[in-house]
Amino acid sequence: MMSQQTPPNLGGKVSRRDFLKLMAAAGTVLTFIPFVDWGKFLPNPTGQVSARAKVELPDGSQANLSSFPVNHSEAVIYPKTDDPALNKEAFRTWQFIRLPEELGGNNNDISSFRMYSMVCLHLWCLWKYWPEPGRKRGECPCHGSLYDPLTGMAFAGPASLQSPPSNVLPMLDLESDQSGAIWIKPPNWSPNGNGVVGFGRYLKE
């Protein structure tokens, strides 16, 4: 009798038995589909911020267009948590810079501000902005990577030798309201968006 059984794909007909097997397989797959979504358990949800956030300076005040000095920088914690230990973490520290005059820092709008991850793209030391004449750039204390404050691109040192996206600092998008207060727009943590902290960002032309 086995020899008379129709092969499943002959003439486009599927035997009843094969159809049932197919249904069983489909059922097995369907049973486990809900668990795919459970993968969201893995990434840290504190990194996801859906609303705009204040640029909160170390003294607790919100940064403002009118009061923040030109050619100056502050370290800002973002996204800020309730845990003081976590807030000290390098991955949450950002350098909030008002550009020097020659790079357009005098403009009284959001274009004169930048906010970059302070985690150096080379080996994750914390770089910072140096406003002294002749410097006016981000410098990493560890291996001397230098960053352009205008774009966040490394132009010297080991970070500059890394291939994209690991030569451009992650950057947060900023906006200001009528009162001049500065806000951080919700980020998109991908190399093509705001970048990945410690890894980098593709520079958009």
Binding site: P43, V119, W124, Q162, S190, V196, G198
Partner: protein, 556 residues
């Protein structure tokens, strides 16, 4: 035989209820998964090359125990990880010992696993349906390195941070999925990294390794107590002589000193230091290397086993070894000229580097060709010349001297115990660790002397010298005890009893010795059953010698 006070085996012959209980348990093992294994405790010295896998497993167990103890004090928390390791090292009693054993055992495990792999590779033991063993072995090797890697990351010293940053950026560099994978597996910052590397280190990777080991274990296993003890002792002695330092606590505001990763990763580090694309150098090249190893048994079509008869495969193996050695050394090397900028000192010129890598290929092939020529030459010369009867003469100690040495070692152990105790009291932790390592070695020696003495006791009296081979020496003892003696004979020098056994494999296999051989534990008929297993697998082949080797290969 007259019982003497030093006849240490004598006490085992009277069976009290405890011994009976142990035997009962041992027989119960028959009903478990272990019944398929043939477990041998060799009764004389065997080359450890044949059971490096078992040694790797023993080191894994050592790591499991010391690691579980370290878990009691280690805290996988961003600002406390390093401090907790410092506390283990400096203040908790014997924390120094456990940490050092854990560290050096991790290095030993990677090293022994590598040796194990190359020994199996060059002796062609992944053949004859051992492909699954080989493939799981390669995966186990990769997991071993990941396990060691995650281990030194969670100390969160400067070097650990460097390692984490490289791991994270390599994951990030994977096209399309990379950043999401990094986010999912490693989390979003240092705090997550430490906690998750910790969970990988103490749970996910070991459990995966244990699962794979179940598949990887061959049916023939050798547990050589003195060799296991010698390895454990060597690990402790290394810990005593080179105690591992803590490194400096990572601070993102302080320039770190120049650090290189652990030796099993400096090869990869050398590639990364060419500053080429991270994905290609850090993910693709190692991936290609692992993939090549995985497919080797399916590429190797030689019918023979010896490295001499498989020139291309041997040459590929030698090439990989040469490249591993060169890149490992290169990864360590940092230009000592401090006048130069750090970047100049660190970056490896990719053109130079890759040219060397390519040049190593013809060099290794030439070297292999030469070695095979030389080996075959030596072989044919040895055949042409009359056989040397002596070779390595066995050391035959008189029984009295065996006991004197034994007692001497025992006294030495007591002395070592006292000095280890005083070393701990006076804070010389590494000295104490060194002495304990020495004690393990002395124990290994004692065990060896002990079994040597027992073997001597059972061995037949020396035969009068005869001109030719004596196929049937008169044996006053039952066959079984002699069979034990032949278990670990290396194949190069088959002794008379082994040939005898070869003549009757069908007999041995028909005895259905499977279950009884487990209980034997190498004491009685393990050799016979081993032979039986071998012959069951490979009855029809003509290449008995090679296959015999292959039979040995499955140990360990």
């Amino acid at each position: 035989m007259v019982m003497e006070w030093w006849d240490l085996g004598a006490t085992l012959k009277s069976e009290n209820s405890l011994v009976q209980f142990c035997k009962w348990v041992y027989e119960g093992v028959d009903r478990t998964i272990f019944m398929g294994m043939k477990f041998t405790i060799p009764s004389r010295f065997v080359s450890p090359l044949g059971f490096l896998g078992m040694l790797t497993f023993v080191i894994f167990i050592i790591l499991g125990i010391t690691g579980a103890l370290l878990m009691l004090w280690y805290e996988p928390i961003l600002d406390r990880a390093w401090d907790s390791v410092e506390r283990i090292n400096d203040t908790i009693p014997f924390g120094f010992h456990l940490r050092n054993i854990h560290y050096h055992a991790s290095n030993a495990m990677v090293m022994v696993a590598l040796l194990h792999m190359y020994y199996q590779y060059f002796s062609g033991r992944y053949k004859i349906r051992n492909e699954i063993l080989w493939v799981t072995g390669i995966i186990l090797g990769v997991l071993t390195i990941l396990e060691a890697f995650t281990g030194y990351d969670i100390i969160f010293s400067e070097r650990a941070e460097l390692a984490i940053s490289i791991a994270a950026s390599l994951t990030n560099s994977i096209p399309v999925l990379g950043p999401d994978m990094r986010e999912a597996f490693f989390g979003g910052g240092f705090s997550d990294f430490i906690l998750r590397f910790y969970s990988f280190h103490v749970f996910w990777l070991p459990i995966a390794m244990l699962g794979l080991m179940v598949v990887h274990f061959p049916r023939f296993l050798v547990f050589d107590v003195p060799m296991v003890m010698a390895f454990a002792g060597a690990i402790m002695i290394t810990g005593g002589v080179f105690p591992v330092d803590l490194g400096l606590k990572f601070d993102p505001n302080v320039p770190p000193g120049i650090t290189v990763p652990e030796w099993y990763l400096t090869g990869l580090y050398a590639f990364l230091r060419t500053m080429y694309d991270k994905f290609v150098t850090g993910v693709l090249w190692p991936g290609l290397f692992i993939f090549t190893l995985l497919i080797i048994p399916f590429v190797d079509r030689y019918k023979k086993f010896s490295w001499k008869d498989r020139p291309i495969i041997t040459a590929v193996g030698i090439t990989s070894l040469a490249q591993i050695i060169v890149t490992t050394y290169w990864g360590f090397y940092i230009d000592p000229d401090i006048q130069k900028s750090l970047l100049e000192r660190l970056v490896i010129d990719p053109i130079f580097f890759y040219i060397v890598m390519v040049l190593l290929v013809p060099l290794s092939f030439g070297f292999t060709y030469m070695m095979i020529k030389l080996a075959k030459n030596a072989e044919s010369k040895a055949k042409a010349q009359p056989k040397k009867t002596t070779g390595k003469g066995p050391i035959n100690l008189p029984a009295k001297w065996v006991y004197i040495i034994f007692i001497g070692l025992l006294i030495f152990q007591i002395y070592l115990n006292i000095s280890a105790y005083y070393a701990v009291l006076s804070g010389m932790n590494n000295f104490s660790l060194f002495i304990i390592g020495l004690m393990m070695l002395v124990f290994a020696g004692m065990f060896h002397i002990y079994r040597h003495g027992r073997a001597m006791e059972k061995a037949p009296p020396p035969l009068p010298p005869k001109p030719a081979i004596q196929p049937k020496a008169p044996s006053p003892l039952p066959q079984t005890s002699r069979a034990v003696y032949t278990v670990e004979q290396t194949v190069e020098k088959p002794l008379a009893p082994q040939q005898e056994q070869r003549a009757r494999p069908s007999l041995a296999s028909s005895q259905n010795t499977k279950s009884s051989s487990i209980r034997s534990g190498g004491q009685t008929d393990s050799s016979a059953s081993r032979e039986a297993g071998t012959s069951q697998e490979i009855v029809s082949s003509a290449e008995i010698d090679d296959l015999d080797k292959a039979g040995n290969a499955r140990e360990g």
